[in-house]
């Protein structure tokens, strides 16, 4: 599964994208965020510490927390868009 990060989330994670293989228990966008947050546990600047500030897109469409994921999906995380 390909993950993309934008804006301050990208800066805080120190990377723009990565490939991950979450366990089968990760079925939705919310599951994926929780799993990514747990992976960061203990870091001083945890990027996923406040999931309410983060929005997601799955395969380039805005996606709510309940959106189901499939292997091979492109999942992006970013702050609320601020427009141009």
């Amino acid at each position: 599964m390909r993950l993309l990060y934008f804006a301050w989330l990208r800066e805080r994670l120190g990377r723009a994208e990565e490939e991950v293989t979450p366990p089968p228990s990760v079925e939705t966008v919310a599951d994926l965020m929780a799993w990514l947050g747990a992976r960061e546990a203990g870091r001083t600047t945890a990027a996923f510490a406040e999931p309410g500030l983060i929005r997601a897109a799955v395969n380039q469409e805005f996606a709510g927390p309940g959106t189901r994921l499939a292997p091979g999906d492109e999942v992006a995380f970013f702050p609320p868009v601020t427009g141009g």
Binding site: L4, F6, A7, W8, A57, Q60, E61, A76, F78, P79, P80, V81, T82, G83, G84
Partner: protein, 152 residues
């Protein structure tokens, strides 16, 4: 319907050439509405040296094209052009161009307003401001912009 022309990228644009191009591909139009956005030298009262626009390549183009096509259907437009720049831009630089061609002035100007309101509030862009004192900050979504976009 000539369809929507959408370009997202770092390159500047030439408004006169874009107007000519829209006009040529929308024969029969009675009116062209147009808006050009320019980077201002301040943000919330603080002077800025530059701003950086980040986008999501692929998704941003798709979202902008979808809204331009929605505008075309809603106002029966003969054609639209939306150009949005990304990357680092300094005050005085052009950042966005929206144009809509229609049979009459009302739809041309309403569609232009609709598109720029959407672009400035709902489009997948993230904006960082670089202040003249060296500080920089990502912009948070603004309530007043949300209000402008929801009137449509």
């Amino acid at each position: 319907m000539a369809g929507a022309v959408v370009r997202i990228g770092a390159a500047d644009f030439e408004p006169g050439a874009e107007l000519r191009s829209l006009s040529e591909r929308t024969e029969g139009a009675g009116g062209l509405g147009c808006f050009i956005g320019i980077v201002r030298g301040e943000a919330a009262g603080r002077p800025i040296a530059a701003m950086t626009l980040e986008h999501y390549p692929g998704m941003t183009e798709r979202a902008v094209r979808a809204i331009a096509e929605e505008a075309q259907n809603r106002w029966h437009l003969l054609g639209t052009t939306v150009i949005h720049r990304v990357g680092r831009l300094t005050p005085g630089e052009r950042i966005v161009l929206v144009m809509a061609a229609a049979l009459h002035r009302g739809p041309a100007l309403e569609a232009t307003s609709f598109l720029i309101d959407w672009l400035k509030t709902k489009a997948p862009f993230w904006k960082k401001e670089h202040f003249t004192d060296g500080a920089e900050a990502w912009v948070a979504a603004r309530a007043s912009d949300e209000a402008a976009a929801t009137r449509w």
